[in-house]
C-alpha cells in the first residue's frame, strides 16, 4: 500500500473510532489517554497531542483544536489533496505539506501560524481566485461559501491578475442541481461523492490544466437518489439547489431541527424557514442515522408544503360538494357522528406520515369511545406485539458490520437511499455479499438476484437453496424485509418462515440480530410502537360506518360510511371525506417519529400550520371534548409523557433500545401454510420521487419523475 493509502485507511479508522456508532467507550481515547501504544505524540503549535498511528496531519490539527482551511478534503470522502489550501509547516520538511494527505510521524512538530503557512495559503487563495468570478452578490452560495469565508482571511484585497478569467459552460444535471461551472474550483468533492458514496459513476474531470472541467462529458442527469448532497458538498457556488435558486439568502433563514418522514430512516434534517414559509431543507449530521446525507425526496419535496393544502375545516354539503365551515361546527358534527355510531363500526386509520402524539391521541379517544379497530395505513395485518418482529434490529450502523445481506421484497436504493449508502459501503469496503429475493434492481453495487417469487423464498427458508450455506457461514448475516411484504395478505405466513430461518441459519445469534424490517415512511413504526393495531376485541364482522382517517390516503370504506379526514393535503384521502379537519404537516408541528430501527426522535415545529389548520393532537384533544370523552392531556409534554407510559422508549429520545428476540415464539401461534405464490415480491416504492401525499403534490418531484422517465425511455 502506498503511504497515501495507508493514511486514508488510518484516517477512516480513526474517524470510525471517534464518531462511529459504537464509539462511546472509545471516545475516551483523546489527548489525555496517552501513553497508548497505538498512538503517536505530535506537537501542533507547541501543544502536544496524541493521535492514532497513521492518521493525517490535518486530523492531528483538529485534535489539537487548530482549524485548518480546506476545500477538497471531506472526512466522508477519499483524500484528493488537490486544492492545496490545507498547507501547514512541518519542522524539518523543506516545503509546506498538504496536511490532509500527509500521515503523522512520531514527534512531528506541526506549525500552522507561521509566516510560511500564511504565505502559502495566501498564494493558494490567489490562484483559486484568478479564475473565480466575482459574482458573490448574485450567487446562492453567498453567505455560506467556504471560498468566500476563507478569502476574508487569506485573500488579497486586490488582484495581480490582468488577463481574462476563463469561462466554463454550465452543465445540465437535472431538475435538482443547478450548475454555474465558472465558479468551480475543481475540488472534485462532487466527483468523489458520486463515485464513492452514491455509486453512480457519471461525474468526472475532463480536460486538463486551464481547460479542466467538472462534468459528465456527455449530457446526462445525475441519476442518483442522493444527488442533492453534492450541493452541500460543493464548497463554492458551482453546484447549488435549483428549486432554491434566488429565493432567499442564507442569512435570512432560520433553521429548525427536524426529522424527515419521507422514508423510514428518520434522517435528521434542518428546516430553513423565512417567516411562515419553508425555503429549503438540508441535512443535519447524525452519524448513527443519516451520517451527513439525505435523499432527494427529503430535500426537495418541501415545495408541496405550499400546494393543495387543507387550510380550513370543510363539510360535504347536501349537494355533494365540500364546503367551508367553522371548527366548532365541524368538530361538533364529527363528535355527534362518533357518539351515534356503534363502537364496533368505527375504524381509525393512521397515515404513513403521522407523528406519535397524534396517533396516541386518536387511539386513546377511540378506546374511550369503546372502539378498538385502529390500523396503520396499509398494514392491517401486522402484529405489534413483539418489537423485534417489525424493527430494523441490526441498527442502521450495524449494516456496515454485515458480511452477508439477504434482501427480501425490497429495493433499498429507492426505499431508503441513505441506508443504501451503508449497504454499498458494506459491499465495497467490507466485502459483504448482497443477494435479493424481490425486485431485480440496480442497487449501485454488485448484488445477486435470486428471484422474485415466494417459491424462491420458501426454498431459502426451508434450507434447500444454495445461499443457505453462505448465510450459515457468515459472521454477521443480515436479512432485510421490505415493508411491502408486511402489506401482503400472507405476510404472517411468510414472516413465520423467515423468523424460523433466522434462527436456523444463525441470522440471530449471540448479540447479533440480523433480522430487519425496512419501513418506508416516517410514521409506521410509531404507530406499531403505541399499538395502533386492531385490538383483541376488534372484528370485521360489523361493517364500518365511520372511518376516521388521520392522514391516511388509502383505506377501505364501504359505500355509505361516514368518512372523516384529518390531514394536511387535499389528495386521494380528502377527496373521499365527508368532513375535513385541517391538520399540520411534519414541519408545522412538534412531533415524535420513530425510525425503522426504533429510534424515537423529535421534530420541532419550524412554523405554524397554514390557515386555520391546527396541530393534529390538539384537534383530537378538542374533538374528544366534543365527543364527551376528554383526553387527559393539555400540553405537548403531557402527550409525550403519555407516549412514554405506553411505550417506555419514547422517554429515551435519540436512542435505540435493544429489542428482545423471541426465538420463533413470535409467530408460534401462526399455522404453517403455503404463501400465495401468485403474487411476486416487489418494492413498496415504484417511483422514488412520489411515495406519499407530500411528495406526490410536489412540483419538483414531478419534474424529477419526468426527467427520470425521459432518461429511461
Amino acid at each position: 500500500m502506498t503511504r497515501l493509502a495507508v493514511a486514508r485507511k488510518a484516517s477512516r479508522e480513526a474517524y470510525k473510532t471517534l464518531f462511529g456508532a459504537r464509539a462511546g467507550a472509545m471516545r475516551a481515547m483523546s489527548a489525555e489517554a496517552a501513553p497508548n501504544p497505538d498512538t503517536v505524540p505530535v506537537t501542533v503549535n507547541g501543544q502536544e497531542v496524541h493521535v492514532p498511528k497513521g492518521v493525517t496531519v490535518l486530523y492531528a490539527c483538529e485534535q489539537a483544536g487548530v482549524d485548518v482551511p480546506r476545500f477538497c478534503y471531506h472526512h466522508k470522502l477519499s483524500i484528493a489533496g488537490n486544492c492545496r489550501m490545507c498547507l501547514v509547516e512541518v519542522e524539518k520538511s523543506p516545503k509546506p505539506v498538504a496536511s490532509c494527505a500527509m500521515p503523522v510521524m512520531p514527534g512531528m512538530n506541526i506549525k500552522t501560524t507561521t509566516d510560511l503557512v500564511k504565505k502559502a495559503r495566501e498564494g493558494v487563495m490567489e490562484f483559486l481566485l484568478i479564475n473565480h468570478p466575482l459574482d458573490c452578490p448574485i450567487c446562492d452560495q453567498g453567505g455560506e461559501c467556504e471560498l468566500q469565508d476563507q478569502s476574508y482571511i487569506f485573500g488579497s484585497d486586490r488582484s495581480r491578475f490582468t488577463e481574462y478569467k476563463r469561462a466554463v459552460e454550465d452543465k445540465e444535471l437535472g431538475p435538482l442541481v443547478k450548475t454555474v461551472m465558472t465558479r468551480c474550483i475543481h475540488c472534485t468533492r462532487c466527483v468523489r461523492f458520486s463515485t464513492e458514496i452514491a455509486g453512480v459513476q457519471d461525474m468526472g474531470i475532463t480536460g486538463r490544466g486551464n481547460q479542466a472541467e467538472v462534468g459528465t462529458y456527455i449530457s446526462k442527469l445525475l441519476a442518483s437518489e442522493l444527488s442533492g448532497n453534492v450541493i452541500d458538498l460543493c464548497p463554492v457556488g458551482a453546484l447549488t439547489s435549483k428549486p432554491f435558486a434566488f429565493t432567499a439568502r442564507s442569512w435570512e433563514l432560520e433553521g429548525t431541527p427536524s426529522i424527515d418522514v419521507t422514508d423510514g430512516l428518520g434522517s435528521n434534517i434542518r428546516v430553513d424557514t423565512r417567516g411562515n414559509e419553508v425555503m429549503r431543507i438540508v441535512p443535519r449530521a447524525n452519524e448513527e442515522v443519516n451520517e451527513e446525507w439525505i435523499s432527494d425526496k427529503a430535500r426537495f419535496s418541501y415545495d408541496a408544503l405550499k400546494r393543495q393544502r387543507l387550510d380550513r375545516p370543510m363539510v360535504r354539503g347536501s349537494d355533494g360538494k365540500l364546503q367551508e365551515t367553522s371548527w366548532e361546527f365541524a368538530l361538533d358534527y364529527v363528535a355527534e357522528k362518533l357518539k351515534a355510531t356503534e363502537p364496533d363500526a368505527i375504524r381509525a386509520v393512521a397515515g404513513k406520515l403521522c407523528d406519535a402524539e397524534s396517533m396516541i391521541s386518536l387511539k386513546d379517544m377511540m378506546n374511550k369511545l369503546g372502539a378498538s379497530h385502529t390500523t396503520p395505513e396499509g398494514m392491517a395485518n401486522v402484529s405489534a406485539d413483539v418489537r423485534s418482529s417489525y424493527l430494523f434490529n441490526s441498527n442502521l450502523v450495524g449494516v456496515e458490520d454485515a458480511d452477508y445481506v439477504l434482501l427480501i421484497g425490497t429495493n433499498p436504493r429507492t426505499e431508503a437511499p441513505v441506508l443504501n449508502v451503508r449497504l454499498r459501503r458494506a459491499v465495497i469496503a467490507g466485502g459483504a455479499t448482497v443477494t435479493s429475493v424481490g425486485p431485480n434492481a440496480d442497487l449501485s453495487y454488485p448484488s445477486t438476484h435470486l428471484g422474485d417469487t415466494t417459491a424462491t423464498l420458501e426454498e431459502i427458508t426451508s434450507g434447500k437453496h444454495a445461499v443457505c450455506e453462505a448465510i450459515k457461514a457468515a459472521n454477521n448475516p443480515m436479512v432485510i424485509v421490505g415493508s411491502e411484504l408486511l402489506r401482503r395478505a400472507d405476510s404472517k405466513i411468510l414472516l413465520k418462515k423467515i423468523h424460523a430461518m433466522c434462527d436456523e441459519l444463525g441470522v440471530v445469534k449471540g448479540d447479533w440480530n440480523g433480522f430487519n424490517v425496512l419501513h418506508d415512511a416516517g410514521g409506521t413504526v410509531g404507530a406499531l410502537d403505541i399499538g395502533f393495531v386492531p385490538g383483541t376485541s376488534a372484528s370485521n364482522d360489523v361493517p364500518a360506518k365511520l372511518v376516521y382517517s388521520l392522514g391516511a390516503e388509502e383505506f377501505d370504506a364501504p359505500a355509505g360510511a361516514f368518512i372523516v379526514y384529518q390531514g394536511h393535503h387535499g389528495a386521494q384521502g380528502a377527496s373521499k371525506a365527508d368532513v375535513i379537519l385541517p391538520g399540520a404537516a411534519y414541519t408545522e408541528k412538534t412531533g415524535t417519529y420513530v425510525n425503522t430501527e426504533g429510534r424515537a426522535q423529535v421534530a420541532v415545529a419550524s412554523m405554524g400550520p397554514v390557515g386555520q389548520a391546527k396541530e393534529d393532537w390538539r384537534i383530537l384533544r378538542a374533538l374528544s371534548e366534543f365527543a364527551g370523552v376528554p383526553l387527559p392531556y393539555n400540553t405537548h409534554e403531557q402527550v409525550h409523557r403519555r407516549l412514554a407510559e405506553v411505550a417506555p422508549h419514547f422517554a429515551k429520545l435519540n436512542e435505540v433500545e435493544a429489542t428482545l428476540w423471541m426465538n420463533g415464539a413470535t409467530y408460534a401461534h401462526e399455522k404453517a401454510r403455503k404463501a400465495d405464490a401468485s403474487i411476486p415480491f416487489k418494492s413498496s416504492v415504484e417511483n422514488f420521487f412520489m411515495t406519499d401525499v407530500i411528495s406526490k403534490t410536489s412540483a419538483t418531484m414531478a419534474k424529477c419523475t419526468e426527467a427520470r422517465n425521459e432518461m429511461n425511455a
Binding site: G204, R208, Q211, I218
Partner: protein, 300 residues
C-alpha cells in the same frame, strides 16, 4: 462574435483554401473545406479563435452530432483484436484499466486518427469501468483527438530549443504550404497541422513529428523528422503526400553527432585505462594450470 460573422469568416477561410488548389490535385468543393470545428457552433468557433493558445484540441464536453453520437456503436476490427488481447494480457485482471491508454491509442489508429464517443464507450466496456473514466483520460491527453483528423497529423515542436532554432518559421511555412492555420485540417483532408510540446529531440532541433493514419493499425507510423529548415519541412510533407517515405530522423546527419565533425575525442584515448580483465583472467588461469601441473609432477 455573431453567428453570421463567424460563418462568413469560416467561409472566407474556405475560399482562401480553395484558392490554393495547387495543394492537392483533388477537386475542392467549398463544403469540403470545413475545418475541424463546426462553424455553426458558436462556442466551437470561439475555441477555434483562441486555439493558438490551447494545446489540447477541442472541447471538453461532448455534443451529439450525426457522425458522433450516443446511439452509435463501435468495436475493434477482427484483425486488431489479437493486439487488444495482447495489451490486456499485460495487466492483472483487477487492474484492467491500466490498459486504457494503449487501447485508446489502438482505437485511434484504427479510426484514422480520432476517437468517437462510441469508441470510448466500447473501451469502457472492455475494461469494465464507467465510461466517464475513459472520457477523463481521452480528454486529458492531447495526443488523443476527438475530432476528425487529416490522414497525416503533422505536429511541430514548439518548445524553447526548437523555437530558438526556428520552429516558428517552420510552422509558418507549413501553414502557407498547407493553406491552413495551426490546428486545422486541409480542405482535402490530407493534413492536420498541429503543435506539440517537447518531444525529446532538442539536440536535433527544430523537428516535427508526423502520425500517419493512412494505412490503419498495421501501417501506422509515428515518425520524427529532425534538423529541419522551412524548406526541408515542406519537402518532407510533400514527399509524404506523394506517398514516398522521406528519410526519418535527422535530415542532415546520421544521428545526433556534431554537424561539423567531431570536435572532441578525435584521437586515441591517452589513458589511464581500466584493467584488462581478459589478461587478468588469462594470467590467473595460467597460474592455476601451472600449479596443477606442478602438483601432478610432485605426485609422480
Amino acid at each position: 462574435m455573431p453567428r453570421a460573422r463567424a460563418l462568413a469568416r469560416a467561409l472566407a477561410r474556405a475560399v482562401d483554401a480553395t484558392a490554393r488548389v495547387a495543394l492537392d490535385g483533388a477537386s475542392m468543393r467549398a463544403t469540403c473545406a470545413r475545418t475541424m470545428t463546426k462553424p455553426n457552433d458558436a462556442r466551437a468557433v470561439a475555441t477555434a479563435r483562441t486555439r493558438a493558445r490551447a494545446y489540447s484540441v477541442g472541447q471538453m464536453v461532448h455534443r451529439d452530432v450525426p457522425e458522433d453520437n450516443s446511439t452509435m456503436t463501435w468495436t475493434f476490427e477482427a484483425s486488431v483484436r489479437p493486439k487488444v488481447d495482447a495489451i490486456l494480457r499485460r495487466y492483472p485482471s483487477n487492474y484492467k484499466r491500466s490498459a486504457m491508454i494503449p487501447l485508446l491509442d489502438l482505437a485511434q489508429q484504427q479510426n484514422k486518427g480520432h476517437l468517437t464517443l462510441a469508441m470510448m464507450n466500447h473501451i469502457a466496456d472492455v475494461l469494465e469501468v464507467a465510461p466517464i473514466r475513459v472520457y477523463e483520460v481521452a480528454t486529458f491527453y492531447s495526443m488523443f483527438n476527438r475530432q476528425k483528423m487529416g490522414k497525416l497529423h503533422v505536429m511541430v515542436c514548439g518548445t524553447t530549443p526548437c523555437m530558438l532554432r526556428g520552429s516558428r518559421e517552420i510552422e509558418k511555412a507549413l501553414e502557407e504550404w498547407m493553406g491552413v492555420k495551426k490546428f486545422e485540417t486541409t480542405a482535402c483532408g490530407t493534413f492536420t497541422l498541429g503543435e506539440m510540446e517537447c518531444m525529446g529531440c532538442c539536440v536535433n532541433a527544430p523537428m516535427i513529428a508526423v502520425a500517419d493514419y493512412r494505412n490503419g493499425v498495421e501501417g501506422y507510423s509515428y515518425n520524427y523528422y529532425e534538423d529541419l529548415t522551412p524548406q526541408t519541412a515542406v519537402k518532407v510533407c510533400e514527399a509524404l503526400k506523394a506517398g514516398k517515405s522521406p528519410r526519418v530522423g535527422s535530415q542532415i546527419r546520421d544521428k545526433a553527432e556534431p554537424i561539423k565533425g567531431l570536435t572532441t575525442l578525435t584521437g586515441d584515448p591517452s589513458g589511464p585505462f581500466s584493467r584488462d580483465l581478459d589478461q587478468i583472467k588469462a594470467d590467473v588461469d595460467a597460474a592455476a594450470a601451472a600449479a596443477a601441473a606442478a602438483a601432478a609432477a610432485e605426485k609422480k
